[in-house]
């Protein structure tokens, strides 16, 4: 009844940073990666895998054979893949050497992931790779294209190898397809998420640029808010404004929202709280530039603006600010009083 939160289910043993599950990917199993660079495939079968891995692998001997085959033909496959990438004119910003070296890493991780069923290493690599190539302008379709090409190269190789044995080919493809699809999804999602993160960082930087606290003259600040206001930005505005009030010893602050098209309840309440907090720090606030739409929204939402000082436009607000800061009449300004 009193619970407003969606509280975490098991805080006590919440997963640590490292092992936390990623959205959109099936649960991962930590399996030691084989790390058998250029291994002799016949020796492969003798290797005794870790218990978890054995469980997976014995359940699918077909996949095991497939993995051995892919390791065996590593050199040839990589070359084929890199060639197909150039032919398709993907990753144009990268040199052939770069493509080949990245292709090698991805190939080995790919085969490991097929073998172990664990995409963790591949995912980490995909994220790092994305981080490196995103600033160079590599696009999502290129990355997906590259991964699908690998899938295609490997599938063709399987067709060739099992040409004479359709039943076995079917079994191999049954094992290969779902694993390959999952890997493609992991790589694609890693890239897209990394891109989102980069965009997010850029937006954050822009946001900070777009909300400067201006000092018009000594002890008078203007905060012109332009663009969409969401809760995150409103919170940040409050922080910036209160910090500026303290640093620049502001007496009066004019918040101009001429550039804000719409406002919702939480943002409106946030604005009211910002004004109140400013007051607690000894600054008076004037709100200017409320569009008729916003004014109506505020009224409809029942946001209490009674203690807010509002003036129609920025210019009028500045006149009022001068008057407040001037005290020429020597009268006691009642607005230093807190009334909540």
């Amino acid at each position: 009844m009193n619970d407003r939160s969606d509280r975490p289910a098991e805080r006590g043993d919440a997963p640590s940073d490292k092992q936390r599950a990623r959205p959109g990917s099936p649960p991962m199993q930590a399996v030691p990666s084989s790390g058998n660079e250029g291994h002799d495939p016949s020796a492969e079968a003798d290797r005794s895998p870790a218990p978890e891995a054995r469980e997976r692998r014995t359940s699918d001997p077909v996949l095991e054979e497939l993995v051995a085959h892919l390791r065996d033909s590593r050199t040839q496959m990589r070359e084929e893949w890199a060639r197909r990438i150039s032919d398709a004119e993907l990753l144009g910003v990268m040199s052939d050497d770069e493509i080949f070296s990245e292709a090698t890493e991805v190939y080995d991780n790919y085969v490991d992931a097929l073998e172990t069923g664990s995409v963790e290493t591949l995912e980490t690599y995909a994220r790092e790779l994305s981080e490196r190539i995103i600033p160079r302008g590599v696009e999502t379709d290129e990355v997906l294209g590259v991964v699908l090409l690998l899938r295609d190269v490997l599938a063709r190789a399987l067709f060739t190898r099992y040409e004479g044995d359709p039943a076995q080919l079917n079994r191999v493809l049954d094992a290969y397809e779902p694993a390959a699809n999952r890997i493609a999804v992991v790589v694609g999602v890693s890239f897209v998420e990394e891109r989102e993160r980069v965009i997010q960082e850029q937006q954050q930087a822009l946001r900070e640029l777009s909300t400067p606290v201006l000092q018009l003259r000594e002890r008078l600040l203007i905060l012109p808010i332009i663009g969409a206001l969401d809760s995150a930005r409103a919170r940040q505005l409050t922080e910036q404004l209160l910090g500026a009030i303290r640093e620049r010893r502001a007496q009066v602050v004019v918040i101009d929202i001429t550039g804000v098209a719409t406002i919702d309840r939480s943002v409106a309440n946030h604005l009211v709280q910002t004004v109140e907090a400013s007051r607690l720090m000894g600054a008076r606030t004037i709100l200017t530039g409320l569009s008729s739409e916003i004014a109506q929204t505020l009224v409809d939402l029942g946001v209490d603006l009674s203690m807010m000082r509002t003036v129609g436009d920025l210019q009028g607000g500045l006149v009022e600010a001068e008057r407040l800061a001037g005290y020429r009449s020597g009268e006691i300004e009642d607005s230093t009083r807190i009334e909540t």
């Binding site: 922080e239 109140e276 607690l280 600054a283």
Partner: protein, 124 residues
């Protein structure tokens, strides 16, 4: 001592030096009520910049100080509420009537000068 109280002309300046326990808050309250009479002070500044938290108890004590001092002829200005504490107070929805606030000590003294000048005018 976690609060330094100085007499400066007609005013008492109480500078809180660290976070205070409830007992210390009460002690400050009684001491100020006492000193206002002893010095016939016309104004009090309470510098709360060092308080980590202004919760319902502290708010109540500050209000009591303001009201008590007023009955004894003195105005009170609270100075130095930090940005974080200001946000906490607003979200808490503490009723701050009839507190007067100022950015810092200097500003508080300016505000007291204005307030006490108002008193003179009333008298004259």
């Amino acid at each position: 001592m976690s609060v330094a109280i100085l007499k400066q002309g007609d005013y008492l300046i109480a500078s809180i030096q660290s976070d205070l326990s409830d007992t210390e808050v009460n002690a400050l309250r009684h001491e100020l009520a006492e000193l206002v009479g002893v010095h016939r002070s016309r104004g009090i500044v309470i510098d709360v910049a060092a308080l980590d938290v202004i919760d319902s108890f502290v708010t109540r004590a500050l209000r009591a100080i303001v009201l008590t001092a007023r009955l004894r002829g003195a105005h009170t200005v609270i100075a130095g509420i930090s940005p974080d504490v200001a946000i906490a107070m607003v979200q808490f929805r503490l009723n701050l009537e009839p507190l007067r606030v100022a950015l810092d000590l200097d500003e508080a003294v300016v505000a007291l000068d204005r307030l006490t000048r108002g008193d003179h005018e009333d008298e004259g």
